[in-house]
């Protein structure tokens, strides 16, 4: 069993391994993120009994956690590679040696020097979370200094959010009173300037240097670039469950390139939801406008708590566009620390995922999406429901099963999306929004 909360997160710079690593006081579990010149190369989970850890043992731990990634990154030259074919880039000639890490470090630095001259607006869609927004804006100040355009789309709207935004001169404030994250995103797209809109959620804190890799990822034909989302803290049981049970822990450390082929490779519905996270995503504005914007029938505020991002990715891939996952771009996400919020989130994920599948089927008529929504997912939920009493007896209750089931039930009301023609273009894109 995994240890109980609280867990501590340590970011370890591979070029400056401490002589002795102590466990943070009170932590029942420790997550080590191993980083080279800012890039996350791997992670390890340790119990407090592994500490204090001598440098050599930490080196062993780091080496086992990062070896494959180092080899693959050198083999691919840090360029995005197709998912599932990573093994091809593992070169035996030359086999990695003691110089590999140094070569990779130089490669990361060299790649950082390659900047894009795309013009970008940073768009934060928010709804009644002024305190979160305040923190997010504070962590963006460095980027502000670089003179980038920042837009806050208030989907509440409420005076507190407005006040927080106005405290930061140069940040534009836009209202989108019709609820829905897709609508807010479309409103952001409408008022953004330049080629690219970079979306960050109000509950993330971008790390320094987060935006450049996103922009540099826009090679010709690339329409979306997603980045890595790390947990900010894992201090509460609900935060651990969010990271490990709601699927946030699965974000990888290799730059990936998704294209049309990705859609055809799987027997089931192509797992577009695994590409990245809308909490750290940059999109080419022109393409969003061409494709009719984010689907306003999908996503938080409209139907469920996710899917606004992945449904758009699905459309991009179908239209022949490409999507890059670039883990050199890192934000830290503040996971909800109480079960009420987590259950709501699980409910929203169960709900939104199915609705997105309906919308995908409505547009592309790919039966695999419908099969997942009406067969695979119900069977999985059934299995989970049947296992729930057993798990309760075993003292490991499945606290989220009910939320998933309710989310699914809620989604069924949106089945008509699958059989109704999609809207030609969305309202907010044409109308724009009030630039206050």
């Amino acid at each position: 069993m995994r240890p109980p909360a609280p867990w501590a997160i340590l970011h370890i710079d591979l070029e400056q391994l401490p002589k002795r690593l102590e466990a943070p006081a009170g932590a029942r579990g420790v997550v080590l993120y191993f980083r080279l010149r800012g890039m996350v190369l791997g992670l390890a989970h340790e119990l407090p009994n592994a500490f204090p850890m001598a440098r050599g043992d930490l080196a062993r731990r780091a080496a086992l956690a990062t070896g494959d990634t180092v080899a693959l990154l050198l083999g691919s030259g840090l360029r995005p590679i197709p998912p599932c074919e990573a093994g091809r880039y593992w070169t035996l000639s030359p086999v990695p040696d003691a110089t590999s890490l140094d070569r990779l470090a130089r490669l990361i630095t060299a790649r950082r020097a390659v900047t894009s001259n795309l013009e970008a607006s940073i768009v934060i869609c928010t709804r009644r979370r002024a305190a979160d927004l305040d923190g997010c804006l504070a962590s963006l100040l460095g980027e502000i200094a670089k003179g980038r355009d920042i837009v806050v789309v208030d989907n509440g709207p409420d005076p507190e959010t407005e006040a927080v935004t106005r405290r930061n001169p140069g940040v534009r404030y836009v209202q989108e009173p019709r609820p829905g994250l897709s609508r807010a995103r479309n409103a952001g797209i409408a008022v953004a300037r330049g080629d690219v809109a970079v979306f960050v959620d109000d509950d993330v804190r971008p790390e320094p240097g987060w935006i450049e890799p996103l922009l540099a990822g826009f090679a010709p034909g690339v329409d979306v670039v997603c980045g890595l989302v790390l947990p900010e803290t894992l201090g509460a049981e609900a935060q651990i469950a969010f990271q490990y049970d709601l699927g946030f822990g699965g974000m990888g450390h290799l730059p990936l390139m998704f294209d049309r082929e990705f859609l055809d490779k799987t027997a089931g519905s192509p797992p577009v939801w695994d590409i990245g996270a809308g909490a750290n995503m940059a999109v080419r504005r022109r393409r969003v406008l061409e494709l009719g914007g984010f689907d306003e029938r999908v996503g938080p505020g409209a139907a469920g708590g996710c899917g606004d991002d992945s449904e758009y990715w699905h459309r991009v891939l179908h239209a022949g566009g490409r999507i890059v996952y670039e883990p050199r771009s890192v934000v830290r996400h503040r996971h909800r620390d109480n079960w009420t919020d987590l259950k709501r989130q699980a409910y929203g994920y169960g709900f939104g995922h199915i609705v997105a599948l309906f919308a995908q089927y409505g547009r592309q008529r790919d039966r695999r999406d419908l099969r997942r929504a009406l067969l695979t997912m119900p069977l999985w939920l059934l299995g989970r429901a049947l296992k729930a009493p057993v798990r309760r007896l075993a003292g490991k209750p499945d606290r989220l099963a009910g939320s998933w089931l309710r989310g699914y039930a809620g989604a069924l009301a949106h089945l008509p999306l699958a059989f109704r023609a999609p809207p030609v273009s969305d309202h907010s894109l044409k109308a724009g929004a009030d630039d206050v």
Partner: protein, 420 residues
């Protein structure tokens, strides 16, 4: 997973071939062998094992056929070594601690001679050590003087006699005979890998607080069908892995119960102080028939339960001559079953906190080990005939049915007999 051998290949002999991964891959010629065991190394350190049967590839295997297999079997650890080397580049070579290596033996002079020759060569080849390691042969209840004669032929090797028969009486004798801070054991049917003690020194630097240092047991020869089958079935199951075992493990419901993943008796080196403070080895185990094993698993289990880490390093490898004939192999599996059963009972009583883990391991054995092994045999996909599996299962049942307590009784009599 692609299977690189079939049941048709499980015949003797197989070739054992060392391949250095940093060298360009060359084609493999099996010659008359039915298969090859490739030990993949990265700058001398074991990085993976690869079994290649003749029926899957024919007698000649090209470098391009080999490459993906080598990658799958050894690339991860090779890459980890590479990163590790970079991270520890400035640490310098770790030093060998004051060390005694003990061989507990009984009436196997020819085997002993081979092991001693390898150990003496290892000792004399190590020029950088402040004090050369001490070699001690413990002669357990000898029927004649042949073991003593063999030892006399090797300068600088000490001899001690333990009159009470039983491997753990021998091991505890070694514990009394040493004045060094570390005490290692290797069996008389094994020889150390060239990097054996470099592996120890490195683990000790990385984890000075560890109480035991263990590593893989690789095949010395695959000259008989029994040896080929044993290795194809997984060999000594710990494998080429790089681990640190502590009191608890992350997300592991079986730990620390279970079949000897912490290490094996033929390759274990202890902090003498910790060994003494735990009271040495349990003399009711490893008594020879009817309870011929278990002492190694027991001491490693007790160490981690006392909160002392066990460092398992792939560099600290030995090469072991597996049982040559099928009856011997059957006895080996029976002995494993007996040890697991006996230890399961012992620990559920003496260390009730681990009772649940022991129960889970038993369930795992029945459902995930014996079940599939028996079911796969008719499909031609199992390396072990059902007789082996049933031997282990039978041993397990006997072990659970009170063999440990009976053994304690027998050993008490044995002690009395020898006036202890």
């Amino acid at each position: 997973m692609t299977r690189t051998w079939t049941s048709r290949d499980l015949r003797a002999p197989w070739a054992i071939i060392d391949r250095e991964m940093t060298q360009p891959l060359t084609p493999l010629d099996l010659g008359k062998a039915h298969g090859a065991y490739l030990l993949l190394r990265h700058q001398g350190r074991p990085a993976g094992r690869l079994l290649i049967g003749r029926s899957a590839f024919g007698s000649g295997i090209s470098a391009s056929q080999l490459a993906p297999l080598v990658r799958k079997a050894g690339a991860s650890l090779a890459a980890a070594y590479a990163v590790y080397d970079a991270l520890t580049a400035r640490s310098g070579a770790p030093a060998l601690p004051p060390l005694t290596i003990a061989i507990c033996t009984r009436d196997r002079p020819a085997l002993l001679r081979r092991t001693l020759a390898a150990l003496v060569a290892l000792r004399d080849g190590r020029s950088g050590d402040a004090t050369p390691f001490d070699i001690l042969v413990v002669d357990n209840a000898p029927p004649d003087s042949s073991t003593r004669m063999v030892v006399a032929g090797f300068p600088g090797v000490r001899y001690a006699m333990e009159p009470v028969p039983g491997l753990n009486f021998g091991r505890n004798r070694a514990l009394r005979e040493t004045d060094r801070a570390y005490l290692g054991f290797i069996d008389d049917d094994a020889v150390p890998d060239g990097g054996w003690l470099d592996g120890l020194a490195e683990s000790l630097r990385n984890q000075p607080e560890a109480g035991a240092f263990t590593g893989p047991v690789l095949p010395l020869a695959l000259e008989t069908e029994a040896q080929v089958r044993f290795e194809a079935a997984g060999g000594f199951g710990e494998g080429i892995d790089w681990q640190s075992y502590r009191q608890e493990r992350w997300d592991d419901p079986y730990y620390p119960a279970g079949a000897g993943r912490l290490g094996t008796g033929t390759n274990m080196i202890f902090s003498t102080e910790w060994l003494r403070s735990l009271g040495g080895f349990d003399e009711a185990l490893d008594t020879g028939p009817p309870l011929p094993g278990g002492g190694d698993l027991d001491i490693l289990f007790r160490l981690v339960r006392a909160g002392v880490p066990v460092a398992y390093s792939p560099r600290q490898a030995v090469h072991h001559e597996h049982r040559r004939d099928i009856p011997g192999l059957r006895r080996q599996f029976r002995s494993w079953g007996l040890s697991m059963g006996a230890l399961s009972r012992k620990n559920r009583r003496l260390d009730p906190e681990t009772a649940a883990a022991h129960r889970r391991v038993l369930a795992w054995l029945l459902v995930r080990r014996y079940g599939p092994m028996l079911a796969r045999y008719p499909l031609g996909r199992a390396a072990l005939p059902p007789g082996m599996v049933l031997a282990e299962l039978g041993g397990l049942v006997q072990g659970l049915a009170g063999e440990y307590d009976r053994s304690r009784h027998r050993v008490a009599l044995r002690r009395q007999e020898h006036g202890r």
